[in-house]
């Protein structure tokens, strides 16, 4: 995405630029029959969906223009209908673009671009327009003003459902208080039965968009969510598709549109993370799939080769024939294995060699005959070769009979294969068939794992063929070939796509957002590193708020978000639900009846999945699909936040125990002291020191002897205490060593920041003239761990 913020005001045609990448697809009629799929299946639901689409649009529009969103959402009763009003302070929409943006289904740049955006598909707002039109018969009312324009535009817009063409019925100028932005009003048949979902949607939107100011007004209530940060989400980059994340239809479309002729060029131009090397790997795999590989065999005895050559050659001098045979024999037997095309090369090279040495020429025909003869010798005993491969690749001890039987049956199948060139599937079918026969005839089973091992054993000695891959045009024309290319792309190891196309909310702002909407005791948030599902990068974030005003009865609340859009329906069908239910929350000190399922307690969990392509279970985009990679990341994010919660709860528990102990001890000790003083007839005791020691606390004591004041910090805890003490003294204490004194309105603030190690003491002393009062406060330590006697 390009930033327009700096250009705003400088140029007035921002909106026009944004519209450049829009393309159109006709689908208006489709909607009428499929509105349930799009989230408009009931009046209650329709209202929520319309608000959702309009708000998503408004947020995207403002962010794309680099503007901090200021959004108004209104719902008004209009007789039998409801009117939805959504206003933003975005860049506004030009007269030319406006009907297209709001009036044509599946019209929007998002559908074609790999970038993290709320909408992802252009079906959103236009569906709401259509729904409004179908239920109320009223046009969509749109007000828009671009930066610097003196007046706002006002349109009324109707869609022709047969042609998917918008018609502008009213086009005037109007006055509007916003300097720039867009306002859409839709009247529709609806009801407020989904009030709760509507509120949740708005509230949750505010949680994940802490940079947005949102105002919400409905007939009964009014909500306002202030902005908590001025930081816009990071700008995202549009990326080319990743070879692992593309489907056959899209691939054929790309092949159709590309300017490249070679597959290598096509791969490098159209995909992310594909350079020359990766392209080569893909092409090798593609060629293997398209042409197959050639099986290579162990070379026979050299003499046999030479005899075969000598016998095959006619009409050449004995000397030249011998040289030719010798050359072929030497080169061939030096090789570990030889495939058909390699044999052809060897023969050709030998011919060239003999020609340069002795001027005898072995022409193409002679070479072909020779190669054929040697090939017969080479493939004369493939059975024992295969037998060795079968033996080597099957770890479990098969008896020799079974191995030979397998080898014999596989060998037979090679007879009909020209040049022994074949696809991996063919090898697999040979082996499978051979295993079947072995079982029928020999009564011994040859298991699937063993079969797989044999297949890969054979495949690993098959040689890639030197044939050139088909050109782009050829691939595009043949669906099967395209499918082979796709398979090769998926099979090849390729670097994960770049992740700067994603904009996570970030840990800080996740926490900030929760803090804003939930008055809790504890917050934790985690943003995971980017991962990839298919070819799409994604990032999972999780947050937990605990305690405070959050209701403690019943299940915890789960807030789900995809690309910053709250998901309010189909909670149970969502991948997040499965992950949450599978975690053992008791490990994290949350109550989970039965040890599985959604836990109970005063907690709110939020999960955000950001991706260039969030996989949903349906078009209405209510639930995230169960993609293993995403589920795994959700789990890790939740566990990470939950670990922080656990630490917090544990600490809170120890502090509570500590407090309880302190309460008991503080009750017992003075009684003991009084009683002892009484019995021994001595003066009454000060017990703070003993108490601090028992509680392993940091003790602060003051003694005043005439005018001499002595402040002692004793650390009975087992860790260093870094304290910040402020002692407010009513008279001037003069200069104090180790402390600073500041006078304010006739009071002296003695500031002292001692660092006291376990078991040690720190002291300051000062003098006060006459009657003084003191007021000490201490920071840097939990109150439960502090005893003050000063």
């Amino acid at each position: 995405m390009t930033s327009y913020q700096s250009e705003l005001g400088g140029r007035s045609n921002v909106a026009e630029e944004l519209a450049e990448s829009q393309r159109s697809i006709s689908i208006a009629e489709f909607f009428e029959k499929n509105k349930h799929m799009l989230g408009f299946d009931s009046g209650a639901r329709g209202l929520v969906t319309a608000v959702k689409e309009a708000v998503d649009n408004a947020l995207d529009a403002t962010e794309e223009a680099g503007i901090l969103p200021d959004i108004y959402v209104g719902i008004k009763e209009e007789g039998d209908y409801y009117r939805v009003i959504v206003e933003d302070n975005g860049p506004g929409i030009t007269k030319e673009q406006l009907p297209k943006v709001f009036g044509k289904l599946l019209y929007g740049s998002r559908f074609h671009v790999r970038e993290q955006k709320r909408g992802q598909q252009g079906i959103g707002i236009s569906a709401a327009v259509l729904y409004s039109q179908l239920t109320s018969g009223k046009p969509a009312m749109i007000t828009s003003r671009t930066e610097g324009e003196s007046a706002a535009q006002y349109f009324e817009l109707i869609i022709d459902t047969d042609t998917n063409e918008p018609e502008i019925s009213v086009d005037t100028t109007t006055t509007w208080d916003r300097p720039h932005g867009t306002r859409i009003e839709l009247e529709m048949e609806a009801n407020m039965r989904a009030r709760q979902q509507l509120h949740d949607y708005i509230k949750h939107t505010a949680v994940v968009n802490p940079h947005a100011r949102i105002e919400f007004e409905e007939p009964r209530e009014q909500l306002k969510f202030e902005r908590v940060t001025d930081q816009l989400p990071a700008e995202t980059e549009e990326i080319r598709p990743h070879p692992h994340g593309i489907e056959l239809g899209s691939l054929i479309k790309l092949l159709d549109e590309t300017a490249s002729h070679s597959i290598s060029g096509f791969l490098q131009d159209e995909f992310t993370r594909v350079g020359q090397k990766t392209a080569d790997s893909i092409i090798t795999a593609f060629v293997d799939r398209h042409f197959g590989r050639e099986m290579s065999w162990r070379p026979p005895e050299r003499s046999a080769v030479e005899t075969a050559v000598t016998d095959a050659v006619t009409n050449k001098s004995e000397e030249a024939t011998a040289a030719f045979a010798q050359r072929i024999g030497t080169v061939l037997t030096e090789r570990d294995r030889v495939a058909h095309h390699e044999l052809v090369d060897i023969v050709a090279n030998a011919a060239e060699h003999v020609r340069s040495e002795s001027n005898a020429t072995f022409g193409t025909a002679a070479q072909k005959t020779t190669a054929g003869a040697v090939w017969s010798v080479l493939t004369d005993d493939i059975e024992s070769d295969l037998s060795r491969i079968v033996d080597d690749t099957t770890t479990s001890r098969k008896d020799a009979e079974t191995i030979d039987g397998m080898a014999r049956r596989i060998a037979v199948k090679f007879e009909d294969v020209e040049r022994h060139r074949l696809q991996k599937e063919t090898v697999a079918s040979f082996v499978a068939r051979a295993a079947e026969q072995t079982e029928t005839h020999d009564g011994t089973t040859f298991g699937e794992t063993a079969q797989e091992n044999v297949v890969s054993g054979i495949w690993s000695v098959c040689r890639s063929v030197p044939d050139d891959p088909p050109k782009v045009r050829a691939v595009e024309r043949d669906r099967d070939t395209a499918s082979e290319l796709l398979g090769a792309m998926r099979e090849t190891d390729i670097l994960a796509p770049p992740t700067d196309c994603l904009a996570p909310i970030t840990e800080t702002l996740v926490e900030e957002g929760l803090r804003k909407e939930f008055d809790a005791d504890f917050y934790a948030a985690t943003t995971r590193d980017a991962e990839v599902h298919g070819g799409d990068p994604f990032i999972v974030e999780a947050g937990i708020a605990y305690g405070g005003d959050i209701k403690s009865e019943g299940r915890i609340d789960v807030l789900r978000f995809a690309n910053r859009v709250p998901l309010v329906y189909q909670r149970g069908a969502c991948a997040t639900a499965d992950v949450i239910q599978d975690i053992n929350w008791r490990n994290y000190n949350l109550d989970q009846p039965g040890g599985s399922g959604t836990p109970n307690g005063p907690a709110v969990v939020m999960i955000h999945v950001a991706s260039t392509n969030v996989p949903f279970t349906s078009e209405s985009k209510d639930a995230i699909a169960n993609v293993p990679e995403i589920e795994h990341e959700i789990e890790l994010a939740l566990r990470s936040a939950a670990r922080e919660l656990k630490r917090y709860l544990k600490k809170r528990r120890t502090l509570e125990q500590r407090q309880r102990k302190r309460n008991v001890i503080a009750d017992i000790l003075p009684t003991m002291a009084d009683k002892l003083a009484d019995m021994t007839e001595r003066e009454s005791l000060a017990i703070e020191d003993s108490l601090a020691r028992i509680m392993n606390n940091v003790l602060i004591e003051r003694t005043v002897d005439n005018d001499a004041v002595r402040l002692v910090v004793t650390n009975h805890s087992d860790s260093v205490a870094d304290l910040a003490l402020t002692d407010i003294v009513s008279v001037d204490p003069g200069d104090i060593e180790d402390a600073t004194v500041v006078e304010m309105d006739g009071e002296w603030f003695v500031k002292w920041d001692p660092s006291v190690r376990s078991g040690e003491q720190a002291v300051i002393e000062y003098d006060v003239n006459g009657n003084a009062s003191f007021d000490i406060s201490v920071e840097g330590i939990e109150p439960e761990k502090l005893s003050i006697n000063a």
């Binding site: 102990k661 009684t671 009683k675 002892l676 019995m679 003993s690």
Partner: protein
């Protein structure tokens, strides 16, 4: 022997010293604490000089560092206060009374939750102050056991001195041993030995058959696990009159423990072994060998009996060839018998045959 008032003053002094110790700990800013030997079987050892079992070196510390420790110390301080006052006023009370009395203490945490707790605390205080419970003027509930035999003694009672002959001046029940036998002075006697008997039935049988008269025996009724006073008077009779002591109980593991507490001291009051135990006391029976020899009516050993016997094999007090053999024998025959099982051979069998035979074997007669 020091007079009672001196004793009382001394005990009171020691208690107040304990309080002063706690006071000082507070004053120093320390955590008040009390060190007590661990009172378990594994922490008793034989004292060669005193010939009794005493506590070993293992100690546990009751300190106000923990909530339970603090509660215990608070209770201890209340009890010390109460005991000091009781001594001051020359009054006495029972262990059970102490338990109920704690209900009246103003600090709820100081109140005892069970009598075991208060009993144990008294024992703790005995150990740390080195004063016996009797000197705190604390008594157990049950009246002490009795003795019967040719001995003339003088008891200091609250109502003055009483001279008593333990055959002529007492009824069938015998002489009631007071809670603090140290108030008794032995005047004269004709006794040859002391016979401690576990059960009331057997004690009555011996008296009815005139065994005490016939053999010049002081018959001490142990009444099950003997009270301290019973053990104390046995020790004094042995020490001061130089009389041999023999113990006659049922033939089961629990009765062997009764013998052990007479002879070696109990685990719970090992701090007082020197004062309560009679190391030279000998065990008459019923021995497992007697069960076999006299073919006595028996019961099979229960699981808990077997357990107890096996524990005794590990008990440091039973580490002698005699006891190892007897206990293994009993485990072997898997039977136990009561004292009164001897009646299966006639009511006089015990006095005419069994006891004389055994006493002769042991060299007492």
């Amino acid at each position: 022997m020091s007079t009672n008032t001196e004793l009382d003053a001394d005990a009171r002094e020691r208690l107040l010293d304990l309080a002063a110790e706690f006071y000082d700990q507070f004053a120093e800013g320390e955590v008040p604490s009390m060190r007590i030997p661990t009172r378990t079987k594994s922490n008793i050892e034989y004292d060669d000089d005193k010939e009794v079992w005493v506590y070993g070196d293992r100690h546990s510390t009751r300190s106000a560092n923990t909530v339970t420790g603090a509660k215990k110390l608070l209770k201890a301080i209340y009890v010390i206060d109460f005991l000091a006052q009781q001594l001051d006023e020359d009054r006495s009370s029972t262990l059970r009374e102490l338990y109920y009395l704690s209900e009246s203490w103003n600090h709820e945490t100081a109140q005892f939750s069970s009598q075991d707790e208060s009993n144990q605390l008294i024992e703790d205080l005995e150990i740390v102050s080195d004063v016996t419970r009797e000197d705190f003027h604390m008594r157990p509930e049950e009246s002490g056991a009795t003795l019967m035999g040719p001995i003339h003694l003088r008891e200091q009672t609250r109502r003055g001195e009483r001279d008593i002959h333990c055959q002529e001046d007492v009824g069938e029940g015998g002489y009631q041993i007071p809670n603090n036998p140290d108030t008794i002075e032995f005047l004269e006697h004709d006794a040859d030995f002391i016979l401690c008997v576990e059960t009331g039935g057997m004690r009555d049988r011996l008296v009815e058959n005139g065994f005490d008269e016939e053999h010049n025996t002081i018959v001490v009724h142990l009444k099950g696990q003997p009270a301290r006073a019973t053990r104390r008077i046995t020790r004094r009779l042995h020490d001061e009159l130089d009389l041999p002591v023999v113990v006659f109980t049922d033939g089961d593991p629990w009765s062997y423990r009764i013998f052990a507490s007479v002879a070696y001291g109990s685990i719970k009051s090992a701090h007082l072994s020197e004062y309560l135990a009679t190391p030279n006391a000998k065990f008459i029976g019923i021995q497992p060998t007697d069960i076999v020899e006299y073919d006595l009516p028996t019961d099979p050993l229960s699981d808990s009996d077997v357990n107890a016997l096996e524990n005794e094999l590990e008990d440091p007090r039973f580490q002698s060839d005699y006891w190892t053999e007897q206990i293994e024998r009993q485990l072997d025959i898997n039977k136990k018998a009561e004292q009164q099982a001897l009646a299966s051979r006639g009511l006089d069998f015990v006095t005419d045959t069994y006891l004389p035979t055994r006493l002769e074997e042991m060299g007492v007669l």
